[in-house]
Amino acid sequence: MSVGNNSTDPSNGAYLLKAKDFATDQDVRWCPGCGDYSILKQVQTVLADLEKQPHETVFISGIGCSSRFPYYMETYGMHSIHGRAPGFASGLRIAQPNLQVWLITGDGDGLSIGGNHLLHLFRRNFNLNVILFNNQIYGLTKGQYSPTSEENKKTVSTPYGSIDHPVNPIALALGADATFVARSMDRDPKHLKEMLVRADSHHGTSFLEVYQNCNIFNDGAFEAFTEKDTKPENCLFLENGQPLVFGARRDKGIRLDGFQPVVVHMSDGAATTDDLWIHDESDLIKAQILSRFFDLPASEGGAGLPRPFGVFYRTERSCYEDMLSEQLRDASEQGGDGDLDALLAGSNTWEIH
C-alpha cells in the first residue's frame, strides 16, 4: 500500500488514507474511455472518505471486464468464476462477519449465469454491497447482447436482432425482496459516490445498479441519461421525502392518477409541487411502481416517464450471518462449548473387556 504525501487526522494525528492508497500497482487493463474507470475512482474515493481499512475490506467479483475490478483495489480481493461471486461472498460473510465485503458483478455475470445466486443473496440479506455494472452488453467476450440489452439489438451473436425481452434489474431485485435497491451511473461521480455511501451504510444486502458505458461494444447506450443536454429531461433523481421533480428547469414532476404515474408540468401551472408524488424509500409498492419507469427515454420515442436514479427502496431485515451467529451463541450457551469426547461416544456405548 503506497503511502502518498501524508495528510493526517487532526484529532489523533493518524495517517488518513487517500483514494490512491486504495489503488494497486497493476496496470488497469480496461479499454481507454471505459466507464469502469470512473466507477473505480469513485469507489476508491469513497473508501478513503469513509476511512475504511484496506485490510478489512474485500472485493469479490465474478468474470467480465467489470469483474477485473478487485485487481485494481489495494484490499483483499477474489476474482472468482463466472456468476458465482455471491456464493463466495456468502461463505466469507459467515466465516468473517467483521469484514466489509463488496461484490462486483456485471449484467451478464450477475443477471445471466449468476441470476439465481443474486436472488438468493437478496433474500438471505447478507450484509454486503453489490455493485452491478450494467453496460447492457457482454464486454469481455467482445460484444454479444446481454440480459439487459434492449430488444432487437444487433450484435455479433444476434445479427438479425435479439428477441429476448430485457431484464429489469430493479424490478427483479424488488421481486426478490432485496432490502436496499438503488441505481446510479458512471458519468455522475457525485451521485455515484452518494449512492456508494448509502449502500455502505445499509445493514443488509445493498444492490446498486450502475449504468456503465462500454465505449467499444455498446457506446452511448445510456447517452440519454448521461449527456448534459438530455440528462435533465430523462433522469429523475430520487430523494427521500422530496417530491418527484425533474427537467432542466426542474419544472416537471410525477403525479399519480390512481396508480398511473403521469408527468405534470408546473411551468404551465397545471400542477404545483404539492400535487406531486413524494418519494418514500420505505414504501415497497411505490418502489415497484418506480421500477416500472423503464421504457425508452422520451428523446428516443419512449412514453416519456423519466428514468429514476437514487434509492428506490430500503428496509431493515435481519441478516443471515447475524442470525446464524446468534444460533451458534445460543447453541453453545445451552450445549456448552462442545465436549469432543462426549460427541465421539454418542448416546450408547459398551465395553469390551
Binding site: 476474482h79 461463505g91 438468493h120
Partner: protein, 618 residues
C-alpha cells in the same frame, strides 16, 4: 428357563428383519443390534429402505429391511445370505426369499398373509406361500403376531392402531429369547425412548415380554442359540454409520486444527445426512449452510476457507458434476477445501438409493485443464471418521482441495467402533500468514518445501492481495500470460499434489500374506468383502493378501513395489473397472478385475469364487 429347550452354539448368524415401512423393522433391528453389541459379538448391519418415500402399504415396493450379521469371529459384512428371516407380511417374504440360506428359519407373521397382503405381494390368487409347501426347504415358524400382540394388550386403553404398532416388539422379544439374551438392556432403551409416553412404554414392554415368554412356552422352540463374544480389542465401543463417521471426523479435525468448520451443501441422497448430522452440532461452532444449489454450496465453502475456516462441501455424483468448475478455481486459489462425494448408482440420476463406486474417474479427471486434486476414500462406516480427518489434514497442511469418496453402502451401513479419546488424536498444525516484519511486500504464492503457499486471511493487516482463476505468476500471484510461467505453475501444482505422498503412511497389507500368489487390491466399500475372503482363503493356506487403498491420489510411495510381491492382482470394484484403468496407466501392470454394477455390494461368495478361479489358473 424351562428344561426341554437345549442351547447350541453358533459362530455367526445373519438375521434379516423385514416388513412394511410402517412395521418398525429399522427400530427392531437397531434394538437387537444394540443388545448384540453389548453381548460382545462383532457385527455389521445394513438397512434397505424402499426407493419411494412411502410406497403403498403391503406392496413389495414398500418393504423395509434391516440385516444384521453377528458372530464370535471378526465380522466385516452384513452377510450374503440370511439364517433367519423375520417376515411381517407376504411382500417381505417374497422380496427376501432369494437371500436365504438353505434350511434357514423363517419367522412369519400369519396376520400379514391374508388375502389382501397376498394380492399386494402379487401372489397368484389363492396361493399362500405359508400353505403351499413352497417353503419346505426352510424351517417356517408361523405366528399370528398381530393377534398375539392385541391379546397381550387387550386390557390397555389403546386404539388398535397403536396396539398394532407394538407388534415389532413381539418379534424382538422372541429373538432375544432365541439368542439367549436377557431383556434388561432393551427394557432400558424403551424406557428412554418412551420417557414421555408411559402408556406406550408399558405397552411395548408387555409385548416384548410376551414375545420373550412365548419362546419358553411354545413347543416349536426347542433350541436357543448362543454366540460367544468375539475377540475384539478391549475398550469402549459404539455403533457408527458411515455418514455419522464423516460428521465426527470433520468436527474432530476442525477442533484439532483449532478452526471453525463450515459445511456448505445442497441436499442429495445419500449425502444429505451429513448436513443433518452437522446441523445438530451448532454448539461445536459448526456453520452449516444449505445453499440454493451445489455450485453455491462449494463456492460458499471456498469463501469460508478464504476467510480462515475449514470449508467443506458434500454431495453425490450429479452434484459433483456441477462443482467441477469451482473445484478448478479452488485448485488455482490453493486454499483448503474438502469435497465429500457419497457415491450412488449412475450415470445421471441413475439409482439414487443404490450404491456404486463409479465416480473415481470423475474425482481424478472431472475438471477442465491440468487440475490435480488429492483423492481419499473411506473403506467402512468407522473408517469414515479417520478418512474425513485425513482429508481435512491434507487440505490444510497442503493448501489444496481434497476429494473424499464414500458411497451409499458405507453411508447407511453400521458397525461397532472403538472410538478414540480426543486426547489421543494429534493436532493439525495451522499457520496463518503474518505481516512481514520488515514491511517487504507480501508474496501470496511464495512456497515452502512442500510447495505450499501461505494462508493469508482477509482482515490481517498488511497482507492485502488478490487471488483468482486466471493463471498467476508464481511467488507474486500477479496475473501472468508468460508461457514459461504457465508451464512452471502447471508442473508445480502437480508436484505439490505428488509430494503429499511423502506425508501419508506407506500402503500396508491389511490381511493375509505380505507376498505370494494373489493380492486383492481394493478401495472404498469393498473393504469388508476383501477382508473376509482374504482371511478365509489365507486360513485355507492360499497365499493371498489384501491391501485396501485409502489414498487414491497420490498413491502411497510403496504401492507398486507392494503389488509386485504377488503373482496376480485382483481388483474388485462396484463399477466397470475404474481403479483398474488408473493402475494400468500408472504401473503398466496387467491386473485382474471383478466388477459388479448392480447397485449392491459384492458378496463373499462372488469374490471368493473369482479369487479361486485366478488361484486355480496359476
Amino acid at each position: 428357563m424351562d428344561v426341554n429347550t437345549i442351547t447350541s452354539e453358533k459362530e455367526e448368524v445373519v438375521i434379516k428383519f423385514a416388513g412394511d415401512s410402517g412395521d418398525g423393522m429399522q427400530l427392531t433391528g437397531g434394538l437387537f443390534t444394540d443388545d448384540t453389541a453389548i453381548s460382545g459379538s462383532d457385527l455389521a448391519t445394513f438397512p434397505d429402505f424402499p426407493a419411494e418415500i412411502r410406497a403403498p402399504v403391503g406392496t413389495m415396493a414398500g418393504v423395509s429391511g434391516f440385516q444384521l450379521h453377528f458372530g464370535s469371529r471378526r465380522i466385516f459384512t452384513p452377510g450374503d445370505r440370511c439364517d433367519v428371516l423375520v417376515a411381517m407380511n407376504a411382500a417381505a417374504l417374497k422380496v427376501n426369499l432369494g437371500q436365504l440360506q438353505p434350511g434357514a428359519t423363517i419367522i412369519a407373521n400369519e396376520d400379514g398373509f391374508d388375502a389382501k397382503n397376498l394380492r399386494l405381494a402379487k401372489y397368484a390368487d389363492g396361493e399362500n406361500p405359508l400353505d403351499n409347501r413352497s417353503l419346505d426347504a426352510y424351517q417356517v415358524i408361523r405366528l399370528p403376531v398381530t393377534k398375539l400382540t392385541r391379546e397381550a394388550l387387550a386390557d390397555l386403553p389403546l386404539g388398535t392402531k397403536e396396539k398394532d404398532r407394538c407388534k415389532n416388539m413381539f418379534v424382538l422379544g422372541l429373538l432375544l429369547w432365541r439368542y439367549n439374551r436377557r431383556l434388561d438392556t432393551t427394557q432400558r432403551f424403551l424406557e428412554v425412548k418412551f420417557r414421555k409416553k408411559p402408556d406406550l412404554l408399558s405397552a411395548n414392554q408387555r409385548v416384548l415380554q410376551a414375545g420373550y415368554h412365548l419362546g419358553d412356552t411354545m413347543e416349536e422352540f426347542t433350541t436357543r442359540y448362543t454366540v460367544r463374544p468375539a475377540a475384539l480389542a478391549k475398550g469402549t465401543y459404539r455403533n457408527i454409520m458411515g455418514n455419522d463417521g464423516i460428521v465426527l471426523g470433520l468436527l474432530t479435525a476442525a477442533r484439532k486444527a483449532g478452526l471453525p468448520l463450515f459445511y456448505g451443501s445442497y441436499p442429495i441422497t445419500p449425502a444429505s445426512s451429513i448436513l443433518h448430522g452437522l446441523a445438530k452440532h451448532k454448539h461445536f461452532g459448526v456453520k452449516t449452510f444449505q445453499a440454493e444449489d451445489e455450485i453455491a454450496a462449494i463456492c460458499a465453502a471456498i469463501g469460508a476457507s478464504y476467510g480462515g475456516n475449514i470449508g467443506v462441501t458434500g454431495t453425490s455424483g450429479p452434484g459433483v458434476a456441477l462443482k467441477g468448475e469451482a473445484m478448478g478455481l479452488a485448485v488455482m486459489l490453493e486454499l483448503p477445501l474438502v469435497i465429500c462425494n457419497i457415491q450412488r448408482g449412475g450415470p445421471s440420476t441413475g439409482l439414487p438409493t443404490k450404491t456404486e463406486q463409479s465416480d473415481l474417474m470423475q474425482a481424478l479427471y472431472g475438471r477442465n485443464g491440468e487440475c490435480p486434486m488429492p483423492v481419499v476414500a473411506a473403506a467402512s462406516p468407522s473408517d469414515c471418521f479417520e478418512t474425513a480427518f485425513e482429508a481435512v489434514r491434507i487440505a490444510i497442511r497442503h493448501m489444496t482441495p481434497v476429494m473424499l469418496l464414500s458411497d451409499g453402502y458405507i453411508a447407511n451401513g453400521a458397525e461397532p467402533w472403538r472410538f478414540p479419546r480426543s486426547a489421543d488424536i494429534p493436532a493439525i498444525e495451522v499457520s496463518f500468514a503474518r505481516p512481514t516484519a520488515d514491511g517487504t511486500p507480501f508474496q501470496p504464492y511464495a512456497r515452502d518445501e512442500r510447495r505450499v503457499r501461505p494462508w493469508a486471511i482477509p482482515g490481517t493487516p498488511g497482507l492485502m492481495h488478490r487471488v483468482g482463476g486466471l493463471e498467476k505468476e508464481d511467488v507474486t500471484g500477479n496475473i501472468s500470460y508468460d508461457p514459461a510461467n504457465h508451464e512452471h505453475m502447471v508442473r508445480t501444482r502437480a508436484a505439490k499434489v505428488d509430494c503429499i505422498a511423502d506425508h501419508i503412511p506407506e500402503q500396508a497389507i491389511q490381511a493375509g500374506y505380505e507376498q505370494g500368489d494373489l493380492l486383492i487390491l481394493g478401495w472404498g466399500s469393498t473393504y469388508g468383502v476383501c477382508q473376509s475372503v482374504t482371511l478365509e482363503l489365507a486360513a485355507q493356506g492360499y497365499r493371498v493378501g489384501h491391501a485396501h487403498l485409502r489414498y487414491l491420489n497420490p498413491f502411497p510411495r510403496n504401492l507398486e513395489q507392494l503389488i509386485r510381491q504377488f503373482r496376480s492382482v485382483l481388483v474388485p470394484e462396484i463399477n466397470n473397472g475404474q481403479l483398474v484403468s488408473v493402475l494400468r496407466d500408472k504401473f503398466l501392470l496387467p491386473v485382474r478385475q471383478y466388477n459388479k454394477i448392480q447397485g449392491t455390494p459384492i458378496t463373499v461368495e462372488e469374490l471368493r469364487a473369482c479369487a479361486l478361479d485366478i488361484l486355480g489358473e496359476q
